[in-house]
């Protein structure tokens, strides 16, 4: 049986970001996948030599467009740990609310892309229609739709007043109703299930050994969520990781759909319990020390390793993003699938290649 090599990417209608795979195919079954990344390597880690640590929040936010807020929040948390800054509780709650709004918009974006990869265009459009409402809330509270620009070292830059909170809660109720309608189609429809069930199965032991994080790991049965570490307001709001046991693409879709509603509950709890007080604390001086900080992004666990040596530029800024950890898993579930399932499998890890390559 002769083998053909079919190139997939970097320009492909289903890919949100450029990644290249050489698929070795034998009669429509994929035997092997050889990856090639590095198309959008921007060298952001080297930029610490030029920008000082206060301005670097803006660079850290721009590592990724979809998960930008949590990158900025993790950077601020790491610097605050090194400099031993106690952030006011109102700022912690505001960061939690924006983080969960960011998670909802990222999952809705992923649901739309997954529907598009299956060819279900109208579901894609409806998911993004609901996402527009979330982006309007974000724009009204932070000023930007995609890059929030609201985290700074020592707190946050903008406040959400009481009447804005009432408006947000009312809109979240409507958004939740819309999301129920869409997730019902994702989880119950016959044609969606035919495309997703049994595709790209990853066992629990394999998922753990390959170093997967996030919904990929939780859909294979490992209960792990960095929000349990208790950063920001999560020490007051306990989060139970949502897990499934099947480990196929349908399970990953279901985990992300249920996380949407978990985030809505977290936002309601946080906005009900939000304390008063100031939103930022003044920070002076230079950081000196080292820390490793982890938070939970929509795609999984992100880890920041920052070293500072008492000058205004940091010595080392190292980001390990969740897609970087999920790539070996993607390469291990591709062999054995049909050629038509390749877009579904590539999207099921929620690839954020601009995060991976910084």
């Amino acid at each position: 049986m002769s083998r053909t090599v079919i190139p997939f990417g970097p320009q492909h209608p289903v890919l949100p970001e450029p990644v290249h795979l050489d698929l070795v195919v034998e009669d429509e079954k994929v035997i092997e996948a050889r990856p090639s990344i590095g198309f959008i390597h921007r060298g952001l880690e080297k930029l610490v030599e030029k920008k000082d640590y206060v301005e670097f929040v803006y660079v850290a936010e721009r590592v990724c467009g979809i998960c930008s807020f949590i990158h900025g929040q993790t950077y601020c948390q790491a610097i605050e740990t090194i400099m031993d800054v106690k952030v006011p509780p109102r700022a912690l709650y505001l960061r939690t609310v924006w983080g969960e709004l960011s998670r909802i918009h990222s999952h809705l974006l992923w649901l739309g892309l997954m529907a598009d990869a299956m060819g279900f265009e109208s579901l894609f459009m409806h998911s993004w229609r609901v996402r527009e409402k979330i982006l309007n809330i974000i724009e009204a509270t932070t000023g930007g739709r995609v890059i929030f620009g609201s985290c700074k070292i020592g707190g946050v830059r903008r406040d959400i007043e009481a009447d804005a909170i009432t408006r947000i809660l009312k809109e979240i109720d409507e958004i939740e109703k819309d999301m129920r309608g869409i997730t019902k189609v994702f989880l119950d429809d016959h044609s969606v299930k035919a495309r997703l069930c049994g595709v790209g199965v990853l066992s629990k032991q394999d998922a753990y050994d390959l170093g997967c994080v996030g919904p990929m790991l939780r859909a294979s049965g490992v209960s792990q969520d960095m929000r349990r570490l208790g950063y920001a307001a999560f020490s007051d709001i306990p989060v139970e990781p949502i897990t499934r046991t099947e480990g196929d693409s349908y399970a990953r879709c279901a985990v992300r759909c249920e996380e949407l509603f978990q985030s809505v509950r977290i936002i309601r709890t946080a906005l009900a319990k939000i304390p008063g007080g100031e939103i930022a604390i003044k920070v002076t001086g230079n950081p000196n020390g080292e820390t490793i900080t982890r938070t939970e992004q929509p795609r999984g666990e992100v880890i920041y390793h920052i070293k500072a040596n008492a000058t205004k530029n940091l010595q080392r800024f190292r980001v390990r993003t969740p897609t970087f950890a999920n790539l070996p898993a993607m390469l291990s579930i591709l062999p054995g699938c049909d050629l038509a399932d390749v877009p579904v499998i590539v999207l099921t890890i929620d690839p954020c290649i601009s995060c991976t390559e910084r």
Binding site: H126, A140, V185, D188, D189
Partner: protein, 114 residues
Amino acid sequence: MSYFSMSKLALKWVFTTPATTSYPFEPRIEIDGSRGWLVFTDDDCVYCNVCAKKCPTGALQVIRAEKTVTLDRLSCITCGCCVEVCPKDSLKLSSGHGTPQVTKGRESYQRKEG
């Protein structure tokens, strides 16, 4: 397992007005508080240079000798740092978008001598 579960949603949206606005034939809905573009409110600037020092991209520059403030719009990330630090409140971020730029260059503003 259900068949045609999308039909209820699709049928509802046949009879509802579309969610997209047909811009530019209809006006764009501007949201209050959005960081659109930087606007100079004139006559208050004293050329203290604090805004240019705080600007993370170096888009804003102050030339004290000529009493001019120049802004490179393509580098401005509308972060709002200059608005926060200005002691005379002479900078503002307004919602809405500015005009498109067709050439690279810096815009300059001078205080009106009155």
